[in-house]
Amino acid sequence: MTSSDAESGHSDSVEAAVGERAVFIQEMLSNAMVAYQGGSLDAFEPVYEHLLPRLLRYLRSLTLDKAYADDLVQEAFLQLHRSRHTYVPPRPVEPWAFGIARHVFLMDRRSGVRRARDRHESLSEQLPVPSAWERWAQRATLQQALAEIPDIGREPLLLHHLWGFSFAEIGHLLGLRPGTVKVRAHRALQRLRAMVGETP
């Protein structure tokens, strides 16, 4: 066996392990949600622990405001609790939770409540960056480039590459066709790579 065969085999087994872990986590979350719907608040704890950092990063990527996102995530969990009956097992939990978080963000933005932004806070610092991209440029550079990409491209880009949602799931979340999501994410990625000087 050559070293490249060994590396390829190792990479395949790592991917398989990651996939199995994702399935395990999904099943764990779904089972926890069923118990939560049955009246057990304690069953919600693993769901909360799993979702809190992810929803927080998602809301920060939408709001570009750390304090605003911290505020919204509280409301998102309240809304999630009020809407816990809308989770239909055994569907994936994360798209459902992200849907609620996005709903909270949109309702708040549409309600027209204006918030004073901390002028010293950098907008781009709130943007999460997949670790795989850091081979192209430094994190701060990537964040600045991401901040310049319009929302309609940045959101599907991060939902797919950072949070791992399929284009179909993102389509349901954003109310777009999967093909449209794929095109927007692809164009955003191309633009990002061009901005950081990374040639495909």
């Binding site: 719907q37 049955g38 009246g39 608040l41 304690d42 919600f44 704890e45 909360y48 622990e49 505020d71 509280q74 409301e75 969990f77 309240l78 809304q79 609790h81 009020r82 809407s83 816990r84 009956h85 809308t86 989770y87 239909v88 097992p89 569907r91 798209p95 459902w96 939770a97 992200f98 849907g99 609620i100 996005r102 709903h103 949109l106 309702m107 708040d108 549409r110 309600s111 027209g112 409540v113 204006r114 918030r115 004073a116 799931e169 389509g171 349901h172 979340l173 109310g175 777009l176 066709r177 449209t180």
Partner: protein
């Protein structure tokens, strides 16, 4: 209810007041039984009031019931598509909504054309009068009303991010379901009458669905603003 929860225990305390068991919002079991029951009750009432259409001898039972059953099945599917908006993260895209409207409209047109082909009947000028058109339009809208109510009730039990889209699909479904019923009792197969009155009622049902969805969205936005005062500087 708001708070600053850095741990699950903090959140748990906030949620403890409302921790009753809940049933998942499965659309089909909540939609189909009451919808079918409503259709059966309405059909019974229509039968007792009007009797079946007068050209039933020429039309035959097969051409009377089968297109109506097919229309009803498609109608319930369209309402079901709209009700996906009640589940966060499961909604459809705008093209799907317009495809639903197109499918519903085409279904009504094809049914009308086939029924006319089977039983053309004489052209009845009075059937295209404003009074006759208004009567059929009103009857179909009344028949659509129960399904509009059932659909929006289920939509309201969920958390819809795009209630207008849901409303449009509920409207086209309710309109088509009403047409599936009324075509069994309306005595006029004249295509001019059917397109003026029956197709128009389907269009109006779509508009009603969109309007209800829009008003509801506006009202809950106002409620949202009121329910979180003083949170921002």
């Amino acid at each position: 209810m708001s708070g600053n929860w850095s741990t699950f225990e903090d959140l748990r305390s906030a949620l403890a007041a409302d921790a009753a068991p809940v049933k998942p919002l499965r659309i089909a079991p909540r939609l189909v039984p009451p919808a079918v029951l409503a259709v059966l009750v309405l059909a019974t009432v229509m039968l007792s009031l009007f009797g079946l259409r007068t050209d039933i001898a020429q039309l035959g039972n097969l051409w009377l019931f089968v297109p109506s059953v097919l229309e009803l099945a498609v109608a319930l599917m369209l309402i079901g598509v709209g009700l996906r908006e009640a589940i966060p993260g499961l909604g459809g895209h705008r093209t799907m909504m317009w495809m639903g409207v197109a499918i519903g409209g085409m279904m009504q047109i094809v049914t009308a054309v086939l029924t006319h082909w089977r039983s053309p009947g004489p052209h009845v000028p009075a059937a295209t009068s404003l009074g006759a058109v208004a009567l059929c339009l009103l009857m179909e809208l009344l028949l659509a009303l129960p399904l509009l109510v059932i659909g929006f009730r289920i939509l309201g039990q969920g958390l819809s991010t795009r209630p207008v889209r849901g409303g449009v699909c509920i409207g086209i479904g309710a309109g088509l379901a009403a047409d599936s019923l009324w075509r069994m009792f309306c005595p006029v197969a004249d295509l001019e009458h059917v397109f003026r009155a029956h197709l128009s009622s389907v269009v109006v049902a779509v508009a009603i669905g969109a309007l209800v969805g829009s008003v509801w969205d506006h009202l809950r936005l106002r409620a949202w603003h009121r329910s979180f005062p003083g949170r921002r500087s």
